[in-house]
């Protein structure tokens, strides 16, 4: 055995060496692969179930906490964001602060790419209400910027959806904040 190994020494080392420099991305362990495929399929099926269940729980939670006849949701969008780098937002409903948010870089980017943040969801009785949004950030010339917008709206028996819209106003190179009611 030893003699054999001595004779084969260079060959053995070469074989080991070649084994180490196997093709890029190459796979050799078929047994491991098939086991892994089974687990991967199992995990994917579970992920599908988790999404479905999370969907049901989300709807259930909304039905419990915010029934459709009293629900009010406020979203925030940023259109282009050239004249305002969003930093923070505060939201008042009927003189009560109901939401405030400090934005991370990632969230600002997500908003600037067309995302809309659900800033607040709550319940309001039918009738007239007032909503005010205070937006803070870095405005033109890198100066701190604050602006508020207000809206009086009538809450009926359906879900109410409002959007705080931060837009660039090219007419005066300033940002503008408005609140829009979605039908």
């Amino acid at each position: 055995m030893a003699t054999c190994l001595i004779i084969r020494f260079p060959m053995l080392l070469s074989a080991l060496l070649l084994g180490f420099t196997a093709p890029v991305f190459a796979q050799t362990n078929t047994e491991g692969e098939s086991n892994h495929t089974a687990v991967a399929e199992q995990v994917e099926a579970l992920k599908k179930k988790v999404i479905r269940l999370n969907r049901d729980l989300f709807i259930l939670e909304e039905d419990l906490l915010f029934p459709a006849n009293t629900q009010v949701a406020v979203f925030l969008s940023v259109d282009t964001g050239k004249f305002l780098k969003l930093d923070a937002v505060k939201l008042k409903v009927n003189d009560d602060i109901v939401a405030s948010h400090l934005y991370t870089e990632r969230q600002v980017t997500a908003l600037e790419r067309g995302g809309m943040q659900r800033l607040y969801v709550g319940n309001l009785k039918t009738g007239p209400h007032q909503i005010t949004a205070f937006v803070e950030g870095i405005g033109p010339d890198q100066r701190p910027y604050k602006q508020a917008a207000s809206l009086e709206f009538e809450k009926d028996t359906g879900t109410a959806a409002l959007e705080v819209r931060v837009q660039d106003r090219s007419s005066n190179y300033q940002p503008s904040v408005s609140i829009v009611e979605w039908e």
Binding site: F9, L13, L17, L46, V50, R52, G115
Partner: protein
């Protein structure tokens, strides 16, 4: 401590690399009539907000909610495309494939731009390739239109050519190499993808026994790499490939006994490179083969001074002793073999210990996960960013199956965290439901009091009595009953006159008044009879209106009563809570089982690697012991001979 995560999957961080960049591109505004500049649907805006942050789980959940609640308006096929992309980035490749096939297939009638569809097929194909599913990878990559891809994104086009060429090499149809040659022709010789292709085809040629072709391919590759220094690719990547190519070529030379060529190839490798140690060992082999043992010994001595934790370095102790023996230095070779044997014995023992103690906790302790504030970082294909603490793990860690198994184990732990977090909410759900019920009972009590104050029964009795009277008057044709107020007033006056006349003497003094009264009464009676139809109709009309109002009043009361008595809404919510709780528990059990399987699979992979390493060490141990015995015999014989000579 095993591989644990503190965050539920909703906060899973995903690096924004190629796949997500593409996803962002398709979701952002495009010159395409089906994709408006602003979100036309609030839910879709919200989905994009989650998705641009890499929160695939949240975004997928919201897409599912949107589908459940009527879908997304005004965005055409884009939500489905985003969903497919999110599934890809969350490791749901099979689901993503179904979504894309349905959406982008030839019969799908999709309104998406062709370049977006092209790239969707490319990424899907690449994910299947990385998963080792070559059939599905080919299927998807072949759907890509190369010209369109090249015009839209040349980097992706190069990678697409590489992947197709690799698949062609691996397919059973590979043999004439026509497809491979034509694909290679699409890339510049100096392109990094072309260089990888050359390297891989050299390895394939070597594996099929065609050493000549392998040598030629590796020589060409080395020549191109040596000449092309001004490349766009990172220098480290090209240097790595060059080192790998030289090692492989030297390996081929060693196999063929071309030691001089091997020495020359290895001599060109830098001493501080990634493959320096391996090159040094090969150098020792080549030098030994060429009959220059001292050189070989020097190289091996250098390697011996280093930690022998890499699997391939386990050859060094035996090789060192072997070279000493070859140098005809048995006095030095014998203790070297003894040391080698002791080393192998200790290492085998050590591996025994590692195998017996092998657990997920120990395994994870050997891995260094890259994290940020939100958890373990992953790449855009969901694989964890991890490095081995012990470089002995590098071999197994580098395998795609281990990487995927590790990522899946991580996903399963995330799902387990999700289950635990959601389970803890059910108590709150029940409290919410109870509170809602209490509030409902308060409102019911208030409504009951309000209803009572309306005295509905009294009104009903009056209505009934009125109806009876009208019915009686109708049956008796009682015209007086239906008289108008004016007629009633006149009648009362006539009655008063009659009463007055009755109190007066019936003679000539009152005759004229009596006659006048008689004529008035006659006229009045004729008038009442004449108006009977009109008056009766007016009364019946009023009665019908009253009936309607009373009916409306009763219906409303009935509705209120029904609402107060109806607990269906509450029961439905309670049922949904119980159902979800049961489903969550079942899912939790399934995840536990999957976790067990994934854990077992992962540990089995490591154990297989350890067993293979042990087998290898046993071979060296046996060879070292045999050499020891042989040399001891040899030395003993020599000393005996010397003793005889002395005598």
């Amino acid at each position: 401590m095993g591989l644990k995560v503190s965050q539920p999957p909703r906060r899973r961080p995903v690096l924004f690399t190629a796949l997500l960049l593409w996803l962002m591109m398709i979701a952002s505004a495009q010159a395409d009539e089906t994709q408006p500049d602003r979100a036309r649907d609030l839910r879709y805006g919200w989905i994009l907000y989650e998705y641009h942050q890499g929160n695939a789980f949240d975004a997928l959940t919201q897409l599912a909610v949107a589908r459940e609640q009527g879908g997304i308006e005004g965005h055409g096929d884009h939500p489905a495309l985003v969903e497919g992309g999110l599934m890809l980035s969350w490791g749901m490749t099979r689901e993503a494939s179904s979504v894309f096939t349905e959406l982008l297939g030839t019969d799908g009638g999709s309104t998406l731009p062709l370049n977006v569809r092209n790239q969707a097929w490319f990424y899907l194909g690449k994910v299947f390739y990385l998963e080792g599913n070559h059939a599905r990878a080919s299927e998807n990559l072949e759907r890509v239109d190369g010209d369109i891809l090249a015009a839209a994104n040349h980097d992706l086009f190069r990678e697409w050519v590489y992947l197709r060429a690799r698949l062609a090499t691996m397919s059973s149809e590979f043999g004439n190499g026509l497809e491979l040659t034509s694909l290679q022709g699409l890339l510049e010789d100096t392109d990094i993808w072309s260089l990888y292709l050359r390297y891989n085809s050299a390895v394939s040629a070597r594996d099929t026994g065609n050493a000549v072709a392998a040598e030629a391919e590796l020589q060409a590759l080395i020549a191109i790499l040596d000449e092309s220094t001004d490349s766009d690719e990172p220098e480290a990547e090209r240097e790595g490939l060059l080192g790998r190519a030289r090692l492989s070529l030297a390996g081929l030379y060693l196999r063929d006994g071309q030691f001089e060529a091997a020495l020359e190839t290895l001599g060109a490798m830098p001493l501080n490179g990634v493959f320096a140690d391996q090159a040094l060992f090969d150098y020792a082999v080549a030098a030994a083969g060429q009959g220059r043992p001292q050189r070989a010994l020097d190289a091996l001595e250098t390697l011996s001074g280093r930690d022998l934790f890499l699997p391939w370095r386990q050859q060094v102790p035996y090789a060192r002793a072997y070279v000493l023996e070859q140098m005809n230095r048995p006095q030095h070779a014998l203790p070297a073999f003894r040391q080698a044997a002791d080393h192998y014995e200790a290492r085998i023992e050590e591996l025994n210990g590692i195998r017996s103690r092998l657990s997920e906790e120990n395994l994870m302790a050997q891995l260094d996960f890259r994290r940020d504030s939100e958890g373990i970082l992953t790449d855009s294909y969901g694989r964890l960013r991890v490095q081995p603490v012990d470089f002995g793990m590098a071999e197994v860690l580098a395998s795609e199956t281990f990487q995927q198994a590790l990522a899946e184990l991580n996903e399963l732990y995330r799902m387990q965290s999700f289950i635990a977090e959601r389970q803890s909410r059910f108590e709150a759900f029940r409290t919410m439901l109870e509170t809602r019920e209490q509030q409902r009972q308060i409102r019911i009590a208030q409504t009951r009091r309000a209803l009572d104050s309306q005295q509905a029964e009294q009104w009903q009795q009056l209505h009934h009595a009125f109806r009876e009277k009208i019915a009686t008057a109708l049956s008796e044709e009682d015209a007086g009953f239906f008289m108008t107020s004016k007629q009633k007033a006149l009648r009362n006056k006539l009655d008063e006159v009659a009463e007055t006349l009755a109190g007066l003497p019936d003679d000539a003094t009152t005759a004229s008044q009596r006659a006048t009264y008689q004529s008035m009464r006659a006229y009045f009676d004729w008038w009442i009879a004449d108006d009977y139809g009109v008056n009766r109709w007016a009364t019946q009309k009023q009665l019908r209106e009253l009936d309607r109002e009373m009916e409306h009043f009763q219906t409303q009361r009935q509705q209120v009563e029904t609402l107060m008595a109806d607990g269906a809404g509450h029961a439905e919510l309670a049922r949904r809570i119980s159902t979800s709780e049961r489903e969550l528990a079942t899912l939790g059990e399934e995840i536990s089982v999957a976790l067990g399987n994934a854990r077992h699979g992962l540990l089995s992979q490591v154990d297989r690697m350890l067993v293979a390493r042990q087998e290898e060490l046993k071979g060296y141990l046996l060879a070292s012991r045999h050499a020891q015995a042989r040399l001891a015999d040899q030395l003993f014989s020599a000393s005996q001979s010397a003793g005889v000579g002395d005598e």
